[in-house]
């Protein structure tokens, strides 16, 4: 197998340029693929599974990194074939690093877990982290560098970037040189940028991420004179107010915040105390779903509401907590601006009553004034230093508009930029539409792009260098609290490629500098202690560099500036529709759009897959005459997007949400192509929510509305009065702890319950702390080799995920209660599936598992029919027939890859159980703690797993709670998976009508 990048590049080049060639690629498939039915076309199958024929496969040729990497637990000097090893590394997203442990089998990574030692993870790994491993093996990743259209190697590109070749273009002082990066907190990047700045003093680095509005930094600079970031200690907070802030799932530190929040939310007995969450938001987010009180307001209306809350708090706490000038700048009561007076008053009273133990957090997309109001509220409530602390923003050049994208575009348009180096991200796709970035790029003579794919940006750049995925790279990063961690690769680069650091070193005239060496050089100077080698090994092994958490900064208020910012009020909000552009829970900002696991993961709230939709409240939709599935044109001042409409109970009125990250065009990412609508077309610089939206129904010839089928995994959201997902308020729980008793207790049976010695596996899922974030779903997919079926498969009802999060709405449709219930195989002691299988393919193990014997299954599907929970999945086709060579590498070798015609379902991660039991048997000890993949990934620790005979364990303790119940208890299936009913903590003083439960 030749590794000639030139040869490969020409093929891919042709593939990009000529649709016919790509059609021919698709037609080269073997005969079986030609037999796919309508809808699941060969094309989409190709796209879906990323098979690339013209590019010769890797053939399993992966290597360990040349440099030394260290496993998390190094008690074994050699690696044992068949046993995985965990290596610590970290993944950077949104500029911040989250520490991870990556399980590696036979030298290739197969599964991502959280790093219990890292403050941003504490053992949990979210949707993005779990899904990122598939991106490593994406066969559509770019494989070779190029200059112009000609494939080339790194030396040529490095030569192009070297000072000798670059200086004539940009000037000796680098006047014409610009670097565009994503926001970064990496010490290595900071160091190298500094050195580039020394070499080219007039060069400028710019930072852009569509999800990073910089508004919070602007607020911080206005309030404190420097870019400070608040860090919240949810574990100490009794009352939390989230102003359009999805802190449980949408922030870089969300895994940590979710854990801390859940620790205060979880109760073990009715007499325990739990926190209370108030949320104000335009849409319906995961955080809003678990809120005790939720107020729906347009994003543009959050500011007046925040002001009203601040006024209310000041009125109760007394004016002395803030300087009088500021207090008056906040404004006096204007009833016209506070339609939810009762709600706000009750909220303010609650906050004031818990002063010092509250948190007010403002969402990223809210304007600076709202962030300012949040800072003021925290100050007024005495939270600073207790539940809220400030650190210097770890992100480079935070709060400096001269380093933003508009400044760069202006320079480019003005002709001042002669060479632009773009480090990852996808600005040509994700830049605000009003900046016309494509035109600006055309004015720059030399453009270089470092990226994972030949995407929209790559095509606009003259030179392309393939980037390294973090799992094959040496780098470092900082978490939200400043904790630094190293990134160590788990395998040698699959396709060649470079990291940011190496590209910057080329700019400095060191094309051969390896990232490993650069990293070591940097940290040699920073790791404390005389034994660098030991400290380095420790850092690699633990995945955290001890003592690097940023110190607290006491904020020095600039009251004068604060007052003037507050007084500068915008014009009265006009009524009418607004559009809110959201981060997507699955593809983030679009960078994961080529990841089929993430495309097929149902959105936590809407349960939509493979695309986005315009989310409307039923009232707004009725008002506009829109029905679900209609294609609507969202028009804002000339910017238009056409997208299908989806009616979401609980969504705010007069607000349309649209997730970013879809509508990718033709390019190297075939899976992402054409999926969903491109919301970036509505993005204008500065903000991500805008008023003045006009929604019109797209109609075809003849006037009938155009429609599009949305692939959703759950079409019915009513519980139909069935006691399946149960929830009660805290005071009801205290009055009547046995409120779930109807779904609990003994069921009359002719048969004896099974005798159980030894390990008897069981699980408890706490619905009070499950946010529905769906990290567990991706974790299960990764651990158990679950295939992807594509959009048509989801439309046909054939999604394969073993674990699903059922999302029910209860109560009034305008502002319903949201119940999330993870549903998986219940491992019933009296399993209905077992006695109907004609060939004994599903059996019960002595330790309580309902087992599935794939080799014996002939696929009658009677077991699925008899399963009342409908958790069994069937391989309708051979979903693994044509996956690319590299995609094979992500498969977990401990788990069978199922063929066509067999049923499959959750096995309680039996491979992990058996591994632990075997290890225990060898050691002659009791079985060590086993953690299922879903349990391990969950940030709120809502899933508890263990043995019923392990008295004193978490499992046994939680199963003893009075709010425990079984789903469909009356059927007598005696499931081993039990639920703890959700408990909410509504404020008794809250009026019933406005928002809330």
């Amino acid at each position: 197998m030749t590794n000639d990048p030139r040869r490969w590049w020409r093929d891919l080049d042709e593939a990009l340029d000529t649709p016919e060639f790509r059609e021919a690629l698709a037609r080269e498939f073997p005969a079986g693929a030609a037999a796919l039915p309508e809808g699941l076309t060969r094309r989409s199958f190709v796209r879906l599974l990323g098979a690339s024929i013209a590019l010769a496969g890797i053939g399993g040729c992966f290597e360990r990194p040349r440099e030394r990497i260290l496993p998390y637990v190094s008690d074994q000097p050699e690696s044992t074939p068949g046993l995985g090893r965990h290596y610590a590394t970290s993944m950077t997203l949104g500029g911040y690093a989250t520490g991870l442990l990556v399980e590696s089998h036979a030298g290739r990574p197969t599964k991502i877990e959280g790093n219990p030692d890292h403050p941003a993870s504490l053992g949990a790994a979210g949707v993005y982290e779990q899904g990122s491993i598939l991106q490593l093996y994406d066969p559509q990743r770019a494989r070779g560098a190029r200059i112009g259209r000609a494939g080339t190697g790194w030396p040529d590109v490095a030569a192009l970037l070297s000072p000798e070749r670059l200086e004539p273009v940009v000037g000796r002082r680098g006047t014409g040189l610009r670097l565009l990066l994503e926001p970064s907190a990496s010490p290595l990047v900071a160091e190298l940028l500094g050195r580039v700045g020394e070499r080219y003093p007039e060069a400028q680095a710019h930072f852009y991420s569509p999800l990073d509005s910089r508004e919070s930094d602007h607020a911080s600079v206005a309030a404190f004179g420097r870019a400070l970031r608040p860090l919240y200690s949810f574990r100490s907070a009794d009352v939390v107010l989230a102003l359009d802030a999805d802190f449980l799932a949408g922030l870089p530190f969300s895994l940590r915040y979710a854990r801390d929040f859940a620790d205060r939310r979880r109760i073990a007995a009715p007499t325990d105390a739990m926190n209370r969450l108030y949320v104000v938001e335009p849409g319906l987010s995961v955080t809003g779903g678990i809120a005790d009180h939720r107020l729906r307001a347009r994003a543009v209306d959050v500011e007046p509401l925040a002001r009203a809350v601040l006024r209310g708090v000041l009125a109760i706490r007394g004016g002395h907590v803030l300087p009088p000038a500021v207090a008056s700048a906040v404004g006096d009561g204007e009833p016209a601006e506070t339609p939810h007076r009762g709600w706000i008053e009750a909220l303010a009273r609650d906050l004031a009553a818990h002063a010092g133990r509250t948190i007010v957090i403002a969402g990223e997309r809210q304007p600076a004034r709202v962030h300012l109001i949040a800072h003021l509220l925290n100050a007024a409530l005495g939270n600073v230093g207790r539940t809220v602390r400030y650190i210097d923003a770890p992100i480079l050049e935070a709060g400096a508009p001269s380093h933003d994208l508009p400044a760069l575009i202006a320079a480019m348009r003005g002709g001042a930029v002669r060479a632009l180096v773009v480090f990852d991200g996808n600005p040509l796709y994700a830049a605000p539409a009003d900046l016309d970035i494509a035109a600006a790029f055309r004015r720059v003579p030399r453009t270089v792009y470092l990226g994972l794919y030949e995407n929209e940006t790559a095509r606009a750049c003259g030179t392309f260098v393939p980037a390294l995925h973090y799992l094959e790279a040496w780098a470092d990063g900082c978490a939200c609290d400043g904790t630094a961690s190293l990134v160590q690769p788990l395998l040698a680069p699959l396709y060649g490629g470079k990291t940011e650091a190496e590209l910057m070193a080329a700019l400095l005239g060191q094309p051969d500098a390896a990232a490993h060496a650069l990293l070591q050089d940097l940290w040699r100077g920073r790791l404390t202690g005389s034994d660098f080698a030991g400290a380095w090994d420790e850092a690699l092994q633990r995945g955290v560099i001890a003592g690097t958490a940023a110190p607290d900064v006491a904020p020095a208020w600039r009251w004068g500036d604060v007052g003037s910012v507050l007084e500068d009020r915008p014009a009265a909000r006009e009524a009418g529709l607004e559009v809110v552009l959201d981060q997507d829970a699955r593809v983030y900002d679009g960078r994961f759009a080529n990841n089929p696991w993430l495309q097929e993961l149902p959105d936590p709230i809407t349960k939509l897959t493979w695309g986005n939709a315009a989310l409307l409240s039923p009232a707004t939709a009725a008002h506009l005459g829109v029905t679900a599935g209609d294609l609507v044109d969202l028009n804002r001042g000339g910017l238009t997007v056409r997208v299908a409409a989806f009616l979401l109970p609980g969504h705010g009125d007069d607000s349309v949400s649209l997730r970013l990250g879809y509508g990718r065009g033709q390019g190297g990412e075939a899976v992402a192509e054409g999926v969903g609508a491109n919301a970036y077309r509505l993005l204008e610089s500065g903000m991500s929510h805008f008023g003045g939206l006009v929604v019109s129904i797209a109609r075809g010839a003849g006037g009938a509305p155009l429609r599009e089928r949305l692939a959703s995994t759950q079409s019915h959201w009513r519980l139909e009065g069935r006691p399946i997902a149960m929830r009660a308020a805290l005071d009801e729980y205290r009055r009547n702890p046995a409120f779930a008793a109807s779904e609990n207790g003994r069921v009359l049976s002719l048969y004896e319950p099974p005798a159980g010695g030894g390990d008897q596996w069981a699980m408890v899922i706490d619905l009070a702390t499950c946010t529905g974030c769906s990290a567990c779903v991706v974790a299960c997919q990764a651990e158990n080799n679950i295939p992807v079926v594509g959009k048509q498969g989801v439309l046909d009802g054939r999604e394969m995920q073993w674990l699903r999060i059922d999302r029910y709405f209860e109560g009034n449709i305008e502002n319903p209660a949201v119940l999330m219930q993870p549903m998986l195989c219940q491992h019933c002691e009296k399993a209905p599936c077992e006695y109907v299988c004609p060939v004994s393919a599903t059996l019960h193990s002595p330790d309580g598992l309902n087992e599935m014997v794939y080799n014996r299954c002939i696929g009658t599907r009677f077991c699925s029919n008899n399963c009342p929970y409908k958790v069994r999945r069937f391989n309708w086709f051979d979903y693994n027939a044509e996956i690319a060579e590299t995609e094979r590498m992500v498969k977990n070798p401990d788990v069978t890859v199922r063929g066509r015609g067999v049923m499959e379902k959750c096995t309680f991660c039996v491979q992990r159980i058996r591994e632990a039991q075997i290890a225990a048997g060898i050691e002659g000890a009791a079985t060590r703690e086993v953690r299922t993949a879903c349990q391990q990934a969950c940030p709120t620790r809502a899933i508890t797993f263990g043995s019923l005979n392990d008295t004193g364990s978490d499992l046994v303790r939680r199963r003893a709670e009075p709010r425990r119940y079984a789903a469909l208890h009356e059927l007598g299936t005696e499931p081993r998976v039990q639920y703890l009913a959700g408990i909410t903590n509504p404020n008794p003083a809250m009026p019933n009508d406005d928002g809330g439960e």
Binding site: G32, A35, R722, Y835, C837, C857, S864, N865, L971
Partner: protein
């Protein structure tokens, strides 16, 4: 050699044997059409087996759909043949003789069709033999608590007994064909299949005994086979499936649809082959009365099912029977089913309706379609909306599903047209015996059979 018979008897025999060696253009056309349909069936089956069950419309939760509907429908249809052969024989209903050959043939061909589906609907059909209790090297037997191995046993038994029964009854007629056929080749072929029947008294006596024994074996099968097929559903715990009335409900429905099929076949047959005197008005009348009786037993089953669902107070049962089936996404199919199964047979209270071949023909078509939709309603609505509303999902068939259904109908007719072409289509020996008895009764001095 046959006993000396009056020339009237010989003419009678010749007349009934004539279709077997009279070429017919109409037959060729019909055969070609059903042949084409059968090829379509084969293609659809090949496509399914090579690519996967995913080419059908099935999904989770609706994991069973057209294949099982077709299976139950075809087996049900087959029951009429056995009912006519066995039950009516044991109850000395002599009018059965005019239609029992056609009915028994229909049963066999319906069973052949039905037998396709349990194999075809498997995800891995090449392992179908694991349903059969053979001493395997893996040391694993079928799991006998499940109804599917019972199905395998029941259908296999039913097919065997039906085949033997049909064939035994055919033997004297094949002998007559052997004796009367023009052309040596024909006589040779019929001679082989006639198994050396001489028509001696001893042979007739053995024949009678064997026939009665087989009837005795086959009669309980009418009850048991479809009861077992109904247990495929009744042993589960789905609302709409696990109802104790299923065994008699299904048996009744089976006989009902089977008689409709017999009528459907017999009415054109008697016209084309001019058998109106053999398959007379009173035969049609009797079959229509049976249809009406079965319809009322079916109506009783519907009422009991629905009443019990309501009476139980169980929320899931009530939802399935009182809300989902009549008013859910398949409500229009439900009401169509009731029209065909409940309203249409009420026509047969009137004798004029019972003996009118066009009315009977159309009614039979509607009843057959109605019984198919009944299985659809039972299977699909219980699966599509189960216990957890989060798992509810719509089901729609694909073109492969339709191809297999219509292809199986074409295959059935292919076999039936072959039967018409080569095999005596009425029970000649029985009819002659009846005529002889009638003559003897008129003229007592002539010897007994």
């Amino acid at each position: 050699m046959t006993t000396v018979a009056s020339s009237g008897s010989v003419q009678f025999t010749d007349r009934l044997l004539a279709p077997a060696w009279t070429p017919s253009r109409v037959w060729r056309v019909l055969f070609a059409v059903s042949g084409a349909g059968t090829l379509g069936l084969v293609a659809a089956i090949a496509y399914t087996v090579s690519t996967g069950i995913g080419v059908w419309g099935n999904n989770i939760p609706v994991a069973w759909a057209y294949a099982i509907i077709n299976f139950v429908w075809w087996i049900g249809i087959g029951h009429a043949g056995t009912f006519i052969s066995a039950f009516l024989l044991l109850f000395h209903q002599r009018w059965r003789s005019s239609v029992n050959r056609v009915a028994e043939a229909m049963t066999l061909f319906a069973l052949v069709n039905a037998g396709l589906f349990p194999l075809l609907h498997l995800g891995r059909p090449w392992f179908f033999y694991w349903l059969i209790p053979y001493p395997s090297r893996m040391g694993v037997w079928p799991q006998f608590k499940s109804a599917l191995p019972w199905d395998a046993a029941a259908v296999a038994t039913y097919f065997t007994v039906s085949l033997l029964f049909w064939y035994l009854g055919l033997v004297p007629d094949l002998a007559a064909a052997r004796d009367r056929a023009p052309g040596r080749t024909r006589r040779r072929v019929y001679g082989v299949f006639a198994l050396g029947w001489r028509g001696s008294g001893r042979q007739w006596h053995q024949y009678r005994v064997a026939y009665l024994i087989l009837a005795g074996l086959a009669a309980p099968l009418v009850i048991s086979v479809h009861s077992i097929v109904s247990l495929d559903f009744a042993i589960s715990q789905l609302p709409g499936w696990h109802s104790t009335i299923f065994p008699p409900y299904f048996v009744v429905g089976a006989i009902y649809s089977g008689f409709a099929m017999v009528l459907l076949l017999v009415i054109p047959l008697r016209r084309v082959f001019r058998l109106e005197d053999i398959i007379a008005e009173r035969h049609l009348d009797n079959m229509a009365k049976l249809l009406l009786a079965m319809a009322w037993m079916l109506i009783y089953s519907y009422i009991v099912e629905t009443f019990m669902a309501w009476y139980s107070g169980n929320a899931y049962e009530r939802y399935t029977y009182l809300i989902d089936r009549p008013f859910g996404p398949y409500g229009w199919i439900f009401w169509g089913m009731l029209t065909a199964n409940v309203v249409v047979p009420q026509l047969f209270w009137w004798r004029r309706m019972r003996v009118s071949p066009p009315v009977l023909f159309v009614a039979s078509l509607l009843i057959l379609a109605g019984m198919w939709t009944e299985r659809f309603i039972i299977i699909v609505t219980s699966l599509n909306r189960g216990f957890l509303p989060s798992s509810w999902h719509f089901y729609a068939p694909t073109w492969v599903d339709w191809s297999i259904l219509f292809g199986s109908v074409a295959f059935f007719f292919l076999l039936f047209f072959l039967f018409l072409r080569f095999v005596p289509m009425v029970a000649i020996s029985e009819l002659r015996a009846q005529r002889h008895d009638a003559d003897t009764a008129a003229a007592p001095e002539v010897a007994a059979p």
